[in-house]
Protein backbone atom coordinates (compact mmCIF):
# COMPACT_ATOMS: atom_id res chain seq x y z
CA UNK A 1 0.00 0.00 0.00
CA UNK A 2 3.06 2.21 0.05
CA UNK A 3 2.26 3.61 -3.38
CA UNK A 4 -0.82 5.33 -1.93
CA UNK A 5 1.57 7.64 -0.06
CA UNK A 6 4.35 7.84 -2.62
CA UNK A 7 4.43 11.64 -2.95
CA UNK A 8 2.86 14.71 -1.37
CA UNK A 9 -0.06 14.89 -3.76
CA UNK A 10 -0.94 11.22 -3.46
CA UNK A 11 -0.64 11.27 0.33
CA UNK A 12 -2.93 14.27 0.43
CA UNK A 13 -5.47 12.45 -1.71
CA UNK A 14 -5.27 9.31 0.44
CA UNK A 15 -5.80 11.36 3.58
CA UNK A 16 -8.79 13.10 2.00
CA UNK A 17 -10.30 9.82 0.96
CA UNK A 18 -9.83 8.32 4.41
CA UNK A 19 -11.55 11.40 5.82
CA UNK A 20 -14.50 11.02 3.42
CA UNK A 21 -14.85 7.31 4.22
CA UNK A 22 -14.72 8.11 7.92
CA UNK A 23 -17.43 10.75 7.50
CA UNK A 24 -19.56 8.40 5.42
CA UNK A 25 -19.47 5.81 8.20
CA UNK A 26 -19.43 7.91 11.36
CA UNK A 27 -20.97 11.12 9.98
CA UNK A 28 -24.02 11.11 12.27
CA UNK A 29 -21.72 10.79 15.30
CA UNK A 30 -19.31 13.58 14.43
CA UNK A 31 -21.62 16.11 12.76
CA UNK A 32 -22.06 19.14 15.04
CA UNK A 33 -25.82 19.30 14.43
CA UNK A 34 -26.94 15.77 13.49
CA UNK A 35 -30.67 16.58 13.47
CA UNK A 36 -30.15 19.42 11.02
CA UNK A 37 -27.86 17.19 9.00
CA UNK A 38 -30.77 14.81 8.58
CA UNK A 39 -32.92 17.68 7.31
CA UNK A 40 -34.66 19.25 10.34
CA UNK A 41 -35.35 22.92 9.59
CA UNK A 42 -34.37 25.63 12.05
CA UNK A 43 -35.76 28.69 10.32
CA UNK A 44 -34.65 31.20 12.98
CA UNK A 45 -31.05 30.50 12.01
CA UNK A 46 -31.32 30.82 8.25
CA UNK A 47 -28.44 32.31 6.24
CA UNK A 48 -25.90 32.74 9.01
CA UNK A 49 -22.48 33.26 7.42
CA UNK A 50 -19.53 31.03 8.27
CA UNK A 51 -18.44 31.61 11.86
CA UNK A 52 -17.56 29.87 15.10
CA UNK A 53 -21.01 28.51 15.82
CA UNK A 54 -21.56 27.30 12.27
CA UNK A 55 -18.17 26.77 10.67
CA UNK A 56 -19.51 26.75 7.12
CA UNK A 57 -22.64 28.82 7.78
CA UNK A 58 -26.29 27.77 7.50
CA UNK A 59 -28.66 27.32 4.57
CA UNK A 60 -32.08 28.73 3.70
CA UNK A 61 -33.80 26.58 6.31
CA UNK A 62 -31.22 27.43 8.96
CA UNK A 63 -29.51 24.05 8.85
CA UNK A 64 -25.83 23.84 9.69
CA UNK A 65 -24.07 23.45 6.33
CA UNK A 66 -21.12 21.48 7.73
CA UNK A 67 -23.50 18.88 9.15
CA UNK A 68 -25.36 18.69 5.85
CA UNK A 69 -22.12 18.19 3.94
CA UNK A 70 -20.98 15.51 6.38
CA UNK A 71 -24.28 13.69 5.90
CA UNK A 72 -23.85 13.98 2.14
CA UNK A 73 -20.66 11.90 2.19
CA UNK A 74 -22.51 8.60 2.62
CA UNK A 75 -24.84 8.83 -0.41
CA UNK A 76 -22.01 10.20 -2.56
CA UNK A 77 -19.66 7.30 -1.82
CA UNK A 78 -22.44 4.72 -1.93
CA UNK A 79 -23.66 5.83 -5.34
CA UNK A 80 -20.12 5.75 -6.70
CA UNK A 81 -19.56 2.23 -5.36
CA UNK A 82 -22.95 0.99 -6.51
CA UNK A 83 -22.74 2.38 -10.03
CA UNK A 84 -19.17 1.23 -10.63
CA UNK A 85 -19.85 -2.09 -8.89
CA UNK A 86 -22.93 -3.00 -10.89
CA UNK A 87 -21.48 -1.69 -14.14
CA UNK A 88 -18.29 -3.67 -13.56
CA UNK A 89 -20.17 -6.90 -12.77
CA UNK A 90 -22.55 -6.64 -15.73
CA UNK A 91 -19.79 -5.47 -18.06
CA UNK A 92 -17.32 -8.12 -16.92
CA UNK A 93 -19.85 -10.90 -17.36
CA UNK A 94 -20.83 -9.81 -20.85
CA UNK A 95 -17.24 -9.02 -21.78
CA UNK A 96 -16.06 -12.46 -20.66
CA UNK A 97 -18.77 -14.19 -22.65
CA UNK A 98 -18.11 -12.07 -25.73
CA UNK A 99 -14.34 -12.40 -25.56
CA UNK A 100 -14.23 -16.10 -24.73
CA UNK A 101 -17.04 -17.40 -26.89
CA UNK A 102 -16.58 -15.14 -29.91
CA UNK A 103 -18.89 -15.72 -32.87
CA UNK A 104 -22.39 -14.33 -33.12
CA UNK A 105 -22.83 -13.75 -29.39
CA UNK A 106 -19.66 -11.67 -29.41
CA UNK A 107 -20.90 -9.50 -32.26
CA UNK A 108 -24.32 -9.17 -30.64
CA UNK A 109 -22.91 -7.97 -27.32
CA UNK A 110 -20.48 -5.64 -29.01
CA UNK A 111 -23.12 -4.11 -31.33
CA UNK A 112 -25.44 -3.49 -28.39
CA UNK A 113 -22.69 -1.89 -26.34
CA UNK A 114 -21.74 0.27 -29.33
CA UNK A 115 -25.32 1.44 -29.48
CA UNK A 116 -25.18 2.56 -25.87
CA UNK A 117 -21.91 4.34 -26.56
CA UNK A 118 -23.29 6.24 -29.54
CA UNK A 119 -24.60 8.91 -27.18
CA UNK A 120 -22.29 11.67 -25.96
CA UNK A 121 -21.19 10.91 -22.37
CA UNK A 122 -23.90 11.37 -19.72
CA UNK A 123 -26.66 12.11 -22.25
CA UNK A 124 -28.16 8.63 -22.07
CA UNK A 125 -28.19 8.81 -18.26
CA UNK A 126 -29.93 12.18 -18.38
CA UNK A 127 -32.62 10.92 -20.75
CA UNK A 128 -33.07 7.67 -18.83
CA UNK A 129 -33.46 9.32 -15.43
CA UNK A 130 -35.96 11.78 -16.91
CA UNK A 131 -38.25 9.01 -18.04
CA UNK A 132 -37.66 6.85 -14.98
CA UNK A 133 -38.50 9.84 -12.80
CA UNK A 134 -36.05 11.90 -10.74
CA UNK A 135 -34.58 10.37 -7.61
CA UNK A 136 -31.43 8.88 -6.18
CA UNK A 137 -32.18 5.23 -7.04
CA UNK A 138 -33.27 6.08 -10.58
CA UNK A 139 -30.18 8.21 -11.06
CA UNK A 140 -28.17 5.19 -9.99
CA UNK A 141 -29.92 2.94 -12.52
CA UNK A 142 -29.52 5.57 -15.24
CA UNK A 143 -25.79 5.83 -14.58
CA UNK A 144 -25.36 2.04 -14.67
CA UNK A 145 -27.17 1.95 -18.03
CA UNK A 146 -24.55 4.15 -19.61
CA UNK A 147 -21.54 2.79 -17.71
CA UNK A 148 -21.56 -0.98 -18.28
CA UNK A 149 -20.59 -0.90 -21.99
CA UNK A 150 -17.14 0.51 -21.13
CA UNK A 151 -16.46 -2.48 -18.92
CA UNK A 152 -17.86 -4.96 -21.42
CA UNK A 153 -15.50 -3.63 -24.08
CA UNK A 154 -12.47 -3.46 -21.81
CA UNK A 155 -12.93 -7.00 -20.53
CA UNK A 156 -13.69 -8.40 -23.97
CA UNK A 157 -10.38 -7.15 -25.35
CA UNK A 158 -8.44 -8.51 -22.38
CA UNK A 159 -10.32 -11.81 -22.45
CA UNK A 160 -9.70 -12.39 -26.14
CA UNK A 161 -5.98 -11.70 -25.63
CA UNK A 162 -5.73 -14.18 -22.76
CA UNK A 163 -7.84 -16.71 -24.64
CA UNK A 164 -5.29 -17.12 -27.40
CA UNK A 165 -2.37 -17.64 -24.97
CA UNK A 166 -0.92 -21.15 -25.34
CA UNK A 167 -1.62 -22.24 -21.76
CA UNK A 168 -5.30 -21.46 -22.12
CA UNK A 169 -5.52 -23.23 -25.45
CA UNK A 170 -3.79 -26.27 -23.96
CA UNK A 171 -6.18 -26.32 -20.99
CA UNK A 172 -9.09 -26.22 -23.39
CA UNK A 173 -7.59 -29.02 -25.48
CA UNK A 174 -7.13 -31.09 -22.31
CA UNK A 175 -10.85 -30.85 -21.73
CA UNK A 176 -10.94 -28.37 -18.87
CA UNK A 177 -14.50 -27.03 -18.78
CA UNK A 178 -15.11 -23.47 -20.03
CA UNK A 179 -16.38 -22.38 -16.64
CA UNK A 180 -13.13 -23.33 -14.98
CA UNK A 181 -11.00 -21.72 -17.69
CA UNK A 182 -12.96 -18.49 -17.45
CA UNK A 183 -12.74 -18.39 -13.67
CA UNK A 184 -9.20 -19.64 -13.21
CA UNK A 185 -7.32 -18.15 -16.13
CA UNK A 186 -9.25 -15.40 -17.77
CA UNK A 187 -10.90 -13.67 -14.85
CA UNK A 188 -7.66 -13.68 -12.92
CA UNK A 189 -5.86 -12.04 -15.79
CA UNK A 190 -8.38 -9.29 -16.31
CA UNK A 191 -8.36 -8.22 -12.64
CA UNK A 192 -5.59 -5.66 -12.99
CA UNK A 193 -7.13 -3.66 -15.86
CA UNK A 194 -10.45 -3.98 -14.08
CA UNK A 195 -9.14 -2.50 -10.83
CA UNK A 196 -7.40 0.32 -12.68
CA UNK A 197 -10.60 1.14 -14.55
CA UNK A 198 -12.74 1.02 -11.40
CA UNK A 199 -10.40 3.35 -9.57
CA UNK A 200 -10.45 5.79 -12.46
CA UNK A 201 -14.25 5.68 -12.67
CA UNK A 202 -15.19 6.26 -9.03
CA UNK A 203 -14.47 9.97 -9.20
CA UNK A 204 -16.17 10.35 -12.56
CA UNK A 205 -19.33 8.75 -11.19
CA UNK A 206 -19.43 11.14 -8.22
CA UNK A 207 -19.10 13.99 -10.71
CA UNK A 208 -21.87 12.57 -12.91
CA UNK A 209 -24.22 11.93 -9.98
CA UNK A 210 -23.58 15.45 -8.72
CA UNK A 211 -24.40 16.82 -12.18
CA UNK A 212 -27.71 14.93 -12.30
CA UNK A 213 -28.61 16.18 -8.83
CA UNK A 214 -27.63 19.74 -9.72
CA UNK A 215 -30.18 20.03 -12.52
CA UNK A 216 -32.81 18.41 -10.31
CA UNK A 217 -32.85 14.86 -11.68
CA UNK A 218 -30.99 13.13 -8.86
CA UNK A 219 -31.62 13.10 -5.13
CA UNK A 220 -34.64 15.17 -4.09
CA UNK A 221 -35.08 17.46 -1.08
CA UNK A 222 -34.78 17.15 1.86
CA UNK A 223 -31.93 14.72 1.15
CA UNK A 224 -28.44 15.87 2.11
CA UNK A 225 -26.89 15.51 -1.34
CA UNK A 226 -23.94 17.61 -2.46
CA UNK A 227 -25.14 18.27 -6.02
CA UNK A 228 -28.61 19.14 -4.79
CA UNK A 229 -27.17 21.50 -2.19
CA UNK A 230 -25.15 23.34 -4.86
CA UNK A 231 -28.39 23.77 -6.81
CA UNK A 232 -30.21 25.06 -3.72
CA UNK A 233 -27.58 27.74 -3.25
CA UNK A 234 -27.38 28.62 -6.92
CA UNK A 235 -29.61 31.68 -6.93
CA UNK A 236 -28.04 32.91 -3.70
CA UNK A 237 -24.48 32.74 -4.97
CA UNK A 238 -23.88 36.51 -4.89
CA UNK A 239 -25.06 36.96 -1.30
CA UNK A 240 -25.15 33.64 0.56
CA UNK A 241 -22.12 32.41 -1.37
CA UNK A 242 -21.13 29.75 1.17
CA UNK A 243 -23.95 27.30 0.39
CA UNK A 244 -23.00 26.44 -3.20
CA UNK A 245 -19.30 27.09 -2.64
CA UNK A 246 -18.77 24.60 0.19
CA UNK A 247 -21.20 21.95 -1.10
CA UNK A 248 -19.51 22.02 -4.49
CA UNK A 249 -16.12 21.92 -2.84
CA UNK A 250 -17.09 18.61 -1.23
CA UNK A 251 -17.81 17.15 -4.68
CA UNK A 252 -14.62 18.62 -6.09
CA UNK A 253 -12.40 17.30 -3.28
CA UNK A 254 -13.92 13.82 -3.44
CA UNK A 255 -13.49 13.65 -7.22
CA UNK A 256 -9.99 15.06 -6.96
CA UNK A 257 -8.98 12.48 -4.34
CA UNK A 258 -10.33 9.60 -6.42
CA UNK A 259 -8.68 10.89 -9.61
CA UNK A 260 -5.26 11.30 -8.00
CA UNK A 261 -5.47 7.85 -6.43
CA UNK A 262 -6.70 6.42 -9.71
CA UNK A 263 -3.53 7.72 -11.35
CA UNK A 264 -1.38 6.32 -8.56
CA UNK A 265 -3.05 2.93 -8.82
CA UNK A 266 -2.55 2.84 -12.58
CA UNK A 267 1.11 3.78 -12.29
CA UNK A 268 1.56 1.10 -9.67
CA UNK A 269 -0.19 -1.77 -11.42
CA UNK A 270 0.55 -0.95 -14.97
CA UNK A 271 3.64 1.13 -15.57
CA UNK A 272 3.23 0.31 -19.24
CA UNK A 273 0.09 2.47 -19.58
CA UNK A 274 1.43 5.32 -17.53
CA UNK A 275 4.40 5.79 -19.81
CA UNK A 276 2.14 6.36 -22.79
Amino acid sequence: MKFLFKDKLTSMASTLLILFIFLAIFGPLVAPYPKEGRGKANVDNSFIGPGWKHLLGTDELGRDLLSRIIFGARPALLIALAVVGFAAVIGTLLGLIAGYRGGWIDSLIMRVSELFLSFPPLLLSLVAVTFLGPGLVNALIALIISWWPWYARLIRVEASIVKSKPYVEISAAMGVPDRVIILRHILRNVTTPLIVQIAADLGTVILAAGSLAFIGLGAQPPAADWGLMVAQGRNLIFDQWWISTFSGMAIFLAVLAFNILGDALRDHFDPRISRQ
Binding site: P120, L126, V127, T130, F131, I215, F238, F252, R275
Partner: protein, 337 residues
Protein backbone atom coordinates in the same frame (compact mmCIF):
# COMPACT_ATOMS: atom_id res chain seq x y z
CA UNK B 1 -15.84 7.29 -52.29
CA UNK B 2 -16.69 3.78 -51.19
CA UNK B 3 -15.21 4.51 -47.80
CA UNK B 4 -17.38 7.58 -47.50
CA UNK B 5 -20.46 5.56 -48.36
CA UNK B 6 -19.60 2.98 -45.74
CA UNK B 7 -19.10 5.69 -43.18
CA UNK B 8 -22.44 7.24 -44.01
CA UNK B 9 -24.36 3.99 -43.82
CA UNK B 10 -22.80 3.04 -40.50
CA UNK B 11 -23.57 6.54 -39.22
CA UNK B 12 -27.18 6.09 -40.23
CA UNK B 13 -27.29 2.77 -38.40
CA UNK B 14 -25.91 4.39 -35.25
CA UNK B 15 -28.53 7.13 -35.43
CA UNK B 16 -31.25 4.55 -35.94
CA UNK B 17 -30.05 2.71 -32.86
CA UNK B 18 -29.80 5.87 -30.80
CA UNK B 19 -33.29 6.96 -31.79
CA UNK B 20 -34.58 3.48 -30.98
CA UNK B 21 -33.13 3.57 -27.46
CA UNK B 22 -34.52 7.04 -26.78
CA UNK B 23 -37.88 6.09 -28.18
CA UNK B 24 -38.04 2.95 -26.07
CA UNK B 25 -37.09 4.86 -22.95
CA UNK B 26 -39.74 7.47 -23.71
CA UNK B 27 -42.54 5.02 -24.44
CA UNK B 28 -42.04 1.82 -22.55
CA UNK B 29 -41.57 3.52 -19.24
CA UNK B 30 -44.97 4.23 -17.74
CA UNK B 31 -45.26 7.96 -18.16
CA UNK B 32 -48.27 9.10 -20.18
CA UNK B 33 -47.17 11.51 -22.94
CA UNK B 34 -50.78 12.61 -23.51
CA UNK B 35 -51.06 13.65 -19.90
CA UNK B 36 -47.79 15.52 -20.16
CA UNK B 37 -49.19 17.31 -23.19
CA UNK B 38 -52.43 18.67 -21.75
CA UNK B 39 -51.54 18.78 -18.11
CA UNK B 40 -52.96 17.03 -15.06
CA UNK B 41 -56.26 18.94 -15.03
CA UNK B 42 -57.64 17.37 -18.23
CA UNK B 43 -60.54 14.93 -18.11
CA UNK B 44 -60.14 11.28 -19.09
CA UNK B 45 -62.17 11.84 -22.27
CA UNK B 46 -59.96 14.70 -23.38
CA UNK B 47 -56.85 12.61 -22.73
CA UNK B 48 -58.28 9.69 -24.72
CA UNK B 49 -59.09 11.96 -27.66
CA UNK B 50 -55.61 13.44 -27.64
CA UNK B 51 -54.07 10.00 -27.49
CA UNK B 52 -55.76 9.21 -30.79
CA UNK B 53 -54.68 12.48 -32.46
CA UNK B 54 -51.13 11.93 -31.30
CA UNK B 55 -51.24 8.34 -32.50
CA UNK B 56 -50.53 7.01 -29.03
CA UNK B 57 -53.28 4.38 -29.30
CA UNK B 58 -51.33 2.44 -31.89
CA UNK B 59 -48.82 -0.35 -31.16
CA UNK B 60 -45.33 0.82 -30.16
CA UNK B 61 -43.53 -0.54 -33.28
CA UNK B 62 -46.01 1.29 -35.52
CA UNK B 63 -45.46 4.45 -33.51
CA UNK B 64 -41.69 4.07 -33.86
CA UNK B 65 -41.92 3.55 -37.59
CA UNK B 66 -44.13 6.62 -37.98
CA UNK B 67 -41.75 8.60 -35.81
CA UNK B 68 -38.83 7.62 -38.05
CA UNK B 69 -40.60 8.60 -41.25
CA UNK B 70 -41.73 11.93 -39.87
CA UNK B 71 -38.31 12.70 -38.41
CA UNK B 72 -36.76 11.98 -41.77
CA UNK B 73 -39.24 14.27 -43.47
CA UNK B 74 -38.25 17.07 -41.12
CA UNK B 75 -41.36 16.93 -38.96
CA UNK B 76 -39.89 16.61 -35.47
CA UNK B 77 -43.08 17.45 -33.65
CA UNK B 78 -43.91 20.29 -31.33
CA UNK B 79 -42.42 21.11 -27.97
CA UNK B 80 -44.90 20.43 -25.20
CA UNK B 81 -43.77 23.44 -23.19
CA UNK B 82 -43.13 26.14 -25.82
CA UNK B 83 -45.64 24.72 -28.41
CA UNK B 84 -43.13 25.61 -31.16
CA UNK B 85 -41.83 23.17 -33.80
CA UNK B 86 -38.84 21.32 -32.31
CA UNK B 87 -36.71 21.71 -35.40
CA UNK B 88 -37.29 25.48 -35.30
CA UNK B 89 -36.40 25.64 -31.58
CA UNK B 90 -33.21 23.70 -32.18
CA UNK B 91 -32.23 25.70 -35.27
CA UNK B 92 -32.75 28.95 -33.34
CA UNK B 93 -30.60 27.84 -30.43
CA UNK B 94 -27.89 25.74 -32.04
CA UNK B 95 -25.73 28.70 -33.21
CA UNK B 96 -25.31 30.11 -29.68
CA UNK B 97 -24.24 26.69 -28.43
CA UNK B 98 -21.86 26.07 -31.31
CA UNK B 99 -20.21 29.44 -30.74
CA UNK B 100 -19.75 28.59 -27.08
CA UNK B 101 -18.28 25.18 -27.92
CA UNK B 102 -15.96 26.75 -30.50
CA UNK B 103 -14.46 29.14 -27.94
CA UNK B 104 -14.27 26.48 -25.24
CA UNK B 105 -12.47 24.04 -27.53
CA UNK B 106 -10.09 26.78 -28.70
CA UNK B 107 -9.21 27.71 -25.10
CA UNK B 108 -8.70 24.07 -24.21
CA UNK B 109 -6.51 23.27 -27.22
CA UNK B 110 -4.38 26.40 -27.03
CA UNK B 111 -3.76 26.36 -23.28
CA UNK B 112 -3.90 22.60 -22.85
CA UNK B 113 -1.39 21.76 -25.57
CA UNK B 114 0.87 24.71 -24.74
CA UNK B 115 1.06 23.81 -21.07
CA UNK B 116 1.40 20.11 -21.86
CA UNK B 117 4.36 20.85 -24.14
CA UNK B 118 5.85 23.16 -21.54
CA UNK B 119 5.50 20.49 -18.86
CA UNK B 120 7.19 17.92 -21.08
CA UNK B 121 10.06 20.31 -21.70
CA UNK B 122 10.59 20.79 -17.97
CA UNK B 123 9.87 17.20 -17.03
CA UNK B 124 10.25 16.49 -13.31
CA UNK B 125 10.86 20.15 -12.50
CA UNK B 126 8.68 22.46 -10.48
CA UNK B 127 6.78 23.72 -13.56
CA UNK B 128 5.88 20.15 -14.50
CA UNK B 129 4.28 19.32 -11.16
CA UNK B 130 2.45 22.63 -11.08
CA UNK B 131 0.90 21.94 -14.49
CA UNK B 132 0.08 18.39 -13.40
CA UNK B 133 -1.88 19.77 -10.46
CA UNK B 134 -3.67 22.26 -12.72
CA UNK B 135 -4.62 19.49 -15.11
CA UNK B 136 -5.99 17.16 -12.46
CA UNK B 137 -7.97 20.03 -10.93
CA UNK B 138 -9.40 20.70 -14.41
CA UNK B 139 -10.72 17.17 -14.83
CA UNK B 140 -12.04 16.99 -11.25
CA UNK B 141 -13.95 20.26 -11.25
CA UNK B 142 -17.73 20.00 -11.59
CA UNK B 143 -18.55 22.42 -14.45
CA UNK B 144 -21.66 23.75 -12.74
CA UNK B 145 -19.70 24.56 -9.58
CA UNK B 146 -16.82 26.20 -11.43
CA UNK B 147 -19.42 28.26 -13.30
CA UNK B 148 -20.99 29.48 -10.07
CA UNK B 149 -17.59 30.28 -8.54
CA UNK B 150 -16.46 32.30 -11.55
CA UNK B 151 -19.80 34.07 -11.61
CA UNK B 152 -19.55 34.96 -7.94
CA UNK B 153 -15.95 36.14 -8.19
CA UNK B 154 -15.66 37.83 -11.59
CA UNK B 155 -19.24 38.99 -12.12
CA UNK B 156 -20.41 39.52 -8.53
CA UNK B 157 -17.36 40.73 -6.59
CA UNK B 158 -15.04 42.16 -9.23
CA UNK B 159 -17.72 43.02 -11.84
CA UNK B 160 -15.18 42.40 -14.60
CA UNK B 161 -17.56 40.29 -16.64
CA UNK B 162 -21.34 40.05 -17.02
CA UNK B 163 -22.92 37.16 -15.10
CA UNK B 164 -25.42 35.80 -17.64
CA UNK B 165 -26.61 35.84 -21.24
CA UNK B 166 -24.85 35.97 -24.60
CA UNK B 167 -25.27 39.77 -25.06
CA UNK B 168 -26.48 42.70 -22.99
CA UNK B 169 -30.26 42.97 -23.14
CA UNK B 170 -30.05 46.59 -24.33
CA UNK B 171 -28.01 45.52 -27.34
CA UNK B 172 -31.20 44.50 -29.11
CA UNK B 173 -32.23 48.17 -29.13
CA UNK B 174 -29.05 50.19 -29.53
CA UNK B 175 -26.90 47.90 -31.72
CA UNK B 176 -29.14 45.14 -33.12
CA UNK B 177 -27.33 42.33 -34.92
CA UNK B 178 -28.31 41.88 -38.57
CA UNK B 179 -29.06 38.22 -39.17
CA UNK B 180 -26.95 36.72 -41.95
CA UNK B 181 -25.89 33.19 -41.01
CA UNK B 182 -27.82 32.97 -37.75
CA UNK B 183 -24.61 32.74 -35.72
CA UNK B 184 -24.93 35.92 -33.64
CA UNK B 185 -21.29 36.59 -32.83
CA UNK B 186 -20.14 35.69 -36.33
CA UNK B 187 -22.86 37.85 -37.88
CA UNK B 188 -21.83 40.80 -35.76
CA UNK B 189 -18.30 40.49 -37.14
CA UNK B 190 -19.22 40.21 -40.82
CA UNK B 191 -21.74 43.04 -40.62
CA UNK B 192 -19.17 45.26 -38.92
CA UNK B 193 -21.23 45.61 -35.74
CA UNK B 194 -18.13 45.71 -33.55
CA UNK B 195 -19.98 47.03 -30.55
CA UNK B 196 -21.96 43.80 -30.51
CA UNK B 197 -18.84 41.72 -31.16
CA UNK B 198 -17.04 43.14 -28.13
CA UNK B 199 -20.15 42.77 -26.04
CA UNK B 200 -20.51 39.16 -27.13
CA UNK B 201 -16.84 38.35 -26.47
CA UNK B 202 -17.15 39.93 -23.05
CA UNK B 203 -20.07 37.63 -22.28
CA UNK B 204 -18.28 34.65 -23.81
CA UNK B 205 -15.19 34.52 -21.59
CA UNK B 206 -16.61 33.08 -18.35
CA UNK B 207 -18.88 30.41 -19.90
CA UNK B 208 -16.21 29.34 -22.38
CA UNK B 209 -13.57 29.07 -19.63
CA UNK B 210 -15.98 27.05 -17.48
CA UNK B 211 -16.80 24.69 -20.31
CA UNK B 212 -13.17 24.24 -21.31
CA UNK B 213 -11.80 23.24 -17.87
CA UNK B 214 -12.29 19.50 -18.33
CA UNK B 215 -10.91 19.39 -21.87
CA UNK B 216 -8.01 21.58 -20.81
CA UNK B 217 -7.05 19.08 -18.12
CA UNK B 218 -7.41 16.13 -20.43
CA UNK B 219 -5.44 17.75 -23.25
CA UNK B 220 -2.51 18.99 -21.19
CA UNK B 221 -2.05 15.53 -19.65
CA UNK B 222 -2.26 13.87 -23.03
CA UNK B 223 0.04 16.35 -24.75
CA UNK B 224 2.69 15.93 -22.06
CA UNK B 225 2.50 12.13 -22.02
CA UNK B 226 2.60 11.78 -25.79
CA UNK B 227 5.44 14.20 -26.23
CA UNK B 228 7.52 12.34 -23.65
CA UNK B 229 6.72 9.08 -25.38
CA UNK B 230 7.90 10.41 -28.73
CA UNK B 231 11.01 11.97 -27.21
CA UNK B 232 12.08 8.56 -25.93
CA UNK B 233 11.94 7.02 -29.41
CA UNK B 234 15.02 5.87 -31.26
CA UNK B 235 14.66 8.30 -34.14
CA UNK B 236 14.83 11.20 -31.71
CA UNK B 237 18.05 9.77 -30.29
CA UNK B 238 19.39 9.44 -33.83
CA UNK B 239 18.44 13.03 -34.57
CA UNK B 240 20.28 14.10 -31.42
CA UNK B 241 23.30 12.04 -32.42
CA UNK B 242 23.30 13.80 -35.79
CA UNK B 243 23.56 17.05 -33.89
CA UNK B 244 20.17 18.54 -34.80
CA UNK B 245 19.28 21.40 -32.51
CA UNK B 246 17.07 20.61 -29.51
CA UNK B 247 14.64 23.23 -30.71
CA UNK B 248 14.27 21.56 -34.09
CA UNK B 249 13.91 18.13 -32.52
CA UNK B 250 11.34 19.31 -30.04
CA UNK B 251 9.06 21.29 -32.31
CA UNK B 252 9.54 19.75 -35.74
CA UNK B 253 10.09 16.12 -34.93
CA UNK B 254 8.49 15.39 -31.58
CA UNK B 255 5.49 17.68 -31.67
CA UNK B 256 4.54 16.61 -35.18
CA UNK B 257 4.53 12.97 -34.18
CA UNK B 258 2.74 13.56 -30.90
CA UNK B 259 -0.08 15.33 -32.74
CA UNK B 260 -2.37 12.44 -33.82
CA UNK B 261 -3.28 11.27 -30.28
CA UNK B 262 -3.79 14.91 -29.30
CA UNK B 263 -6.30 15.28 -32.13
CA UNK B 264 -8.12 12.15 -30.93
CA UNK B 265 -8.38 13.52 -27.40
CA UNK B 266 -9.56 16.88 -28.73
CA UNK B 267 -12.39 15.07 -30.49
CA UNK B 268 -13.18 13.06 -27.39
CA UNK B 269 -13.34 16.17 -25.26
CA UNK B 270 -15.49 17.93 -27.86
CA UNK B 271 -17.96 15.13 -27.28
CA UNK B 272 -17.85 15.82 -23.55
CA UNK B 273 -18.59 19.45 -24.30
CA UNK B 274 -21.90 18.52 -25.95
CA UNK B 275 -23.38 17.48 -22.61
CA UNK B 276 -21.16 19.94 -20.78
CA UNK B 277 -23.14 22.77 -22.37
CA UNK B 278 -26.26 21.54 -20.55
CA UNK B 279 -24.78 22.53 -17.21
CA UNK B 280 -22.81 25.57 -18.28
CA UNK B 281 -25.71 27.10 -20.20
CA UNK B 282 -27.97 26.43 -17.24
CA UNK B 283 -25.66 28.37 -14.93
CA UNK B 284 -25.05 31.28 -17.32
CA UNK B 285 -28.57 31.47 -18.82
CA UNK B 286 -27.01 30.95 -22.23
CA UNK B 287 -29.69 31.02 -24.95
CA UNK B 288 -28.54 27.75 -26.54
CA UNK B 289 -29.56 24.12 -26.86
CA UNK B 290 -28.11 23.16 -23.49
CA UNK B 291 -30.51 25.28 -21.47
CA UNK B 292 -33.36 24.18 -23.73
CA UNK B 293 -32.34 20.56 -23.10
CA UNK B 294 -32.36 20.97 -19.32
CA UNK B 295 -35.77 22.64 -19.39
CA UNK B 296 -37.13 19.90 -21.64
CA UNK B 297 -35.76 17.19 -19.36
CA UNK B 298 -37.25 18.80 -16.28
CA UNK B 299 -40.68 19.17 -17.88
CA UNK B 300 -40.55 15.69 -19.53
CA UNK B 301 -41.07 17.40 -22.88
CA UNK B 302 -40.54 14.13 -24.72
CA UNK B 303 -40.67 15.33 -28.37
CA UNK B 304 -38.07 17.97 -27.51
CA UNK B 305 -35.94 15.42 -25.64
CA UNK B 306 -35.96 13.07 -28.63
CA UNK B 307 -35.05 15.90 -30.98
CA UNK B 308 -32.20 17.08 -28.79
CA UNK B 309 -30.88 13.54 -28.35
CA UNK B 310 -30.86 13.05 -32.08
CA UNK B 311 -29.01 16.32 -32.66
CA UNK B 312 -26.50 15.43 -29.94
CA UNK B 313 -25.92 11.99 -31.47
CA UNK B 314 -25.40 13.62 -34.87
CA UNK B 315 -22.97 16.08 -33.30
CA UNK B 316 -21.09 13.17 -31.75
CA UNK B 317 -20.85 11.38 -35.11
CA UNK B 318 -19.73 14.51 -36.93
CA UNK B 319 -17.02 15.11 -34.33
CA UNK B 320 -15.70 11.58 -34.74
CA UNK B 321 -15.76 11.94 -38.50
CA UNK B 322 -13.80 15.21 -38.39
CA UNK B 323 -11.25 13.60 -36.08
CA UNK B 324 -10.75 10.74 -38.54
CA UNK B 325 -10.38 13.18 -41.42
CA UNK B 326 -7.70 15.21 -39.63
CA UNK B 327 -6.05 12.00 -38.52
CA UNK B 328 -5.73 10.71 -42.06
CA UNK B 329 -4.26 14.05 -43.14
CA UNK B 330 -1.67 13.91 -40.35
CA UNK B 331 -0.83 10.29 -40.80
CA UNK B 332 -1.50 8.87 -44.27
CA UNK B 333 -1.25 5.31 -42.91
CA UNK B 334 -4.48 5.81 -41.00
CA UNK B 335 -7.06 5.68 -43.68
CA UNK B 336 -10.59 5.34 -42.54
CA UNK B 337 -11.60 1.81 -41.78
Amino acid sequence: MKILRNRLSSALLVLLGASFITFTLARVIPSDPALAYIGPKATAAEAAKLRITLGLDQPIPVQYFKYLIETFQGNWGYSLSTKQPILQEIADRLPATLELIFFAISFAVIFGVALGVYAAKYRGKFQDSLIRIFAIIGVSMPAFWLGLLLQMLFAGRLTWFPATGQFDIELKYDHPITRVTGFPLFDSIITGNYHATFNGLHHMILPALTLSAYSFGLLSRMARANLLEVLSQDYVKVARAYGLSERLIFFKLALRNALPPIVTVTGLSAAYLITGTFFVEQVYNWPGIGSFAVNSLLSIDYPAIMGITLVAAIGYLVTNFIVDLIQSKLDPRVWMK
